[in-house]
């Protein structure tokens, strides 16, 4: 919550703007590279967002299943499932890296 408007907004129902980024295989399976999301779901943790994305079903349910391999980065930094999201965060979800 970077400013007064954000804080006031959060006081009502924790709604926030998130920028979702899907990369590599996930980008292909979901058919989307970037998505702007007004997040007013239950909870503010990464785990809560993932649960909501799985609810979309289809490729989202399959690829983001807990037993599949994926990583989450918030604002370009890898985080774990307990990370608490904030308004304006860029949340990227991607398969294990295979560079070099």
């Amino acid at each position: 919550m970077a400013n007064g408007v954000g804080r006031a907004f959060a006081a009502y129902n924790a709604a926030m703007n998130l920028e979702l980024v899907f990369l590599a295989r996930l980008r292909e399976r979901f058919g989307v590279a970037r998505e702007r999301l007004l997040w007013d779901g239950e909870g503010e943790r990464v785990a809560d967002l993932l649960a909501a994305l799985r609810m979309r079903g289809g490729a989202f349910a399959v690829e983001l299943a807990p037993e599949r391999s994926w990583r989450v980065a918030v604002n370009h930094e890898v985080v774990d499932l307990d990370y608490v999201l904030a308004d304006g965060d860029e949340v990227a979800i991607f398969p294990p890296v295979t560079g070099g």
């Binding site: 990369l23 590599a24 295989r25 370009h76 990227a92 991607f94 890296v97 295979t98 560079g99 070099g100």
Partner: protein, 126 residues
């Protein structure tokens, strides 16, 4: 004073897991990838008395046998340059946000992470 320079070049394989590879597409995550490369270089500088590091990683469409990555390290003594260069490569393979999709004679496929790369990077975590 530079006494030693060690450099590594990685190439697109033309065969992988039994299939002939014609070309490769390298995807990255603009912003995070650059940040991660800087972090890897900074870690190498913190661990060894090296003088300079250079990392060049190509992205997009690459034909078989093309160069993918260059890592060069300079130092006063050769053992530091060898160690830092191998450390950077091991971390690039397991931490830097790059994803490879191969175009083979059996179609396209995303390359899976290798256990051997994860083991190589784990060596440095002591």
């Amino acid at each position: 004073m530079v006494g030693a320079s060690v450099s590594f070049v990685g190439y697109v394989r033309d065969v992988n897991d039994g299939a002939e590879v014609g070309a490769m597409f390298l995807e990255h995550y603009p912003g995070m990838t650059e940040r991660e490369l800087h972090a890897i270089a900074a870690q190498a500088h913190a661990r060894w008395p090296i003088i300079d590091t250079l990392i060049i990683h190509r992205v997009g469409e690459l034909p078989a046998l093309a160069q993918i990555v260059l890592v060069a390290v300079t130092s006063a003594h050769r053992s530091d340059a060898f160690a830092a260069c191998e450390f950077i490569m091991d971390y690039l393979k397991t931490r830097a946000p790059f994803w490879k999709r191969e175009r083979t004679t059996q179609g396209e496929r995303w390359v899976d992470a290798r256990d051997s790369d994860t083991a190589a990077a784990a060596r440095w975590q002591t």
